[in-house]
């Protein structure tokens, strides 16, 4: 029997296992790459200088193996306001409600100014400057976590780079595939962070049905080898995993959050707009639960809700209040029960996926 884990994604990237770690931690990325998987470092918040330094740091540690960097290319941009103008537009009812939460849970003040970063693809010029660095540094895979990377395809391909696009709808996938992306990541509702409304099982199968030879990578709720096997059965050529690595040994996440992730199940995640004004899945916390209650005011749109929640979030993090802290987490978090080295996680996923195929076929894969 052909090795079911030797997929066209492996051929495309020259990797051993079709497992992609999406991580903000360079140590996790290097460990996964050197274990035979692939890693994409999330750099949306970073300046071009930081991105260049991180690319060099990884390159020095992976012995010629490929790696990727993910940016958040915007897909829509509202007319611009200054931070002060935005703050002035927050209605009093929502301000009062945030203050009530703060008093009820004794949420401490942040230790410093709210760290509302100015980077992160918030407008076209910033995203463009970040992209230029990826091209200059010849980052082997450029991934776009939101907007279409089609406009950069020709230039990236001329440089021998590959471009991946992450989508939440089938029509977005078709656009990007027609434009010539090298792989498309189909992300389902089960995922951590901001997601679309379509479930992973549905979107992966649907995108795979229209993808032709373009590899499809399944994202959303993937934390085990059994998920990997299922994704391949749906027509994917690999998986894009995020939550799995947050609690890995190498992860630089606060230990309090690691422990919360290890203890959490899918029921402990909350999908709402109350953090940022856009739908986002995180570990439930007092902030998410209070905004769901009857009598809570309407959640504000982005970016106003984020301005409102930042005081709570930063106060909780600065003072390491376990009862208040939260982190993005997908619905597969229930399988994240041990703080293993990233390398071990890769091997465990591979072994479990192969065992799953053995069960299905009745013969060793």
């Amino acid at each position: 029997m052909k090795n079911p884990l030797q997929t066209k994604l492996c051929d495309l990237l020259g990797i051993e296992f079709p497992i992609i770690a999406f991580t903000h931690c360079k140590d996790v990325a290097v460990a996964v790459i050197n274990a035979g998987g692939f890693a994409v470092l999330g750099e949306a918040m970073h300046t071009p200088e930081q991105i260049a330094a991180d690319a060099k740091w990884i390159r020095d540690r992976v012995e010629g193996r490929p790696f990727g960097i993910d940016l958040v290319l915007p897909a829509s941009v509202p007319p611009a306001d200054t931070l002060e103008q935005l703050m002035e537009k927050i209605p009093q009812a929502q301000r009062d409600f945030a203050q009530q939460i703060k008093e009820k849970y004794d949420v401490p003040d942040p230790k410093g100014p709210i760290a509302l970063h100015q980077w992160g693809g918030l407008n076209q010029a910033i995203a463009r400057a970040q992209l230029e660095v990826l091209l200059d540094e010849r980052v082997p895979v450029i991934a776009s976590g939101l907007g279409s990377p089609a406009f950069i395809l020709e230039r990236a391909h001329q440089l021998g780079l590959k471009v991946f696009g992450l989508v939440g709808k089938t029509r977005q996938a078709k656009r990007q595939i027609d434009a010539g992306v090298d792989a498309v990541i189909a992300q389902g509702y089960d995922a951590a962070g901001h997601t679309g409304a379509m479930g992973t099982f549905s979107i992966v199968a649907e995108v795979a049905s229209i993808a032709g030879d373009t590899p499809v990578i399944a994202a959303g709720g993937v934390t085990t080898g059994r998920h990997l096997a299922a994704a391949l059965c749906l027509g994917a050529a690999g998986v894009w995993t995020g939550t799995r690595w947050l609690a890995s040994r190498e992860s630089d996440l606060d230990m309090i959050l690691k422990e919360k992730l290890l203890a959490a199940s899918a029921d402990d995640t909350s999908y709402s707009t109350c953090i940022s004004g856009m739908t986002m899945r995180v570990l439930a916390c007092p902030w998410t639960e209070e905004w769901k209650k009857p009598g809570a005011p309407d959640v504000l749109p982005a970016p106003y809700q984020m301005l409102l929640s930042s005081d709570y979030l930063q106060g909780a993090n600065d003072h390491r209040r376990a009862d208040l802290m939260t982190e993005a987490a997908g619905q597969g978090v229930g399988f994240v029960t041990e703080m293993k080295p990233a390398r071990q996680i890769v091997f465990d996923m591979v072994e479990e996926a192969l065992a799953t195929f053995d069960e299905l076929t009745g013969e060793p894969a």
């Binding site: 918040m45 897909a75 829509s76 509302l116 918030l122 910033i126 406009f151 940022s276 739908t279």
Partner: protein, 91 residues
């Protein structure tokens, strides 16, 4: 190169002016490492801006019939690949 040094060249496409479209939009969220999706339906004004080289084209979607609850403006700039024409003349 500082971000604000990147060129932005405005233009107008009369063939798109007045066409209804949906935008599968979204952007990064200030203060987080994440991005959020937002959906809009409206009418294209025909205005566009090309950012940088190769050009990254953005269209203005006006008279928004559908926008996120509380969205404060009546127009949004949408990246060309994220726009889907929905009126009868759509190709």
């Amino acid at each position: 190169m500082p971000p604000d040094a990147i060129s932005a060249r405005p233009g107008f496409d009369a063939t798109l002016a007045g066409r209804r479209a949906e935008c599968d939009g979204g952007s990064a969220i200030p203060g987080t490492r994440y991005a959020g999706r937002e959906e809009f339906t409206g009418t294209l004004s025909g205005e566009y801006v090309d950012h940088g080289d190769p050009p990254w084209r953005w269209y203005r979607l006006c008279d928004l019939e559908r926008k996120p609850p509380g969205y404060p403006a009546d127009s949004v700039w949408c990246e060309a690949q994220s726009l889907f024409l929905i009126d009868a003349a759509a190709p």
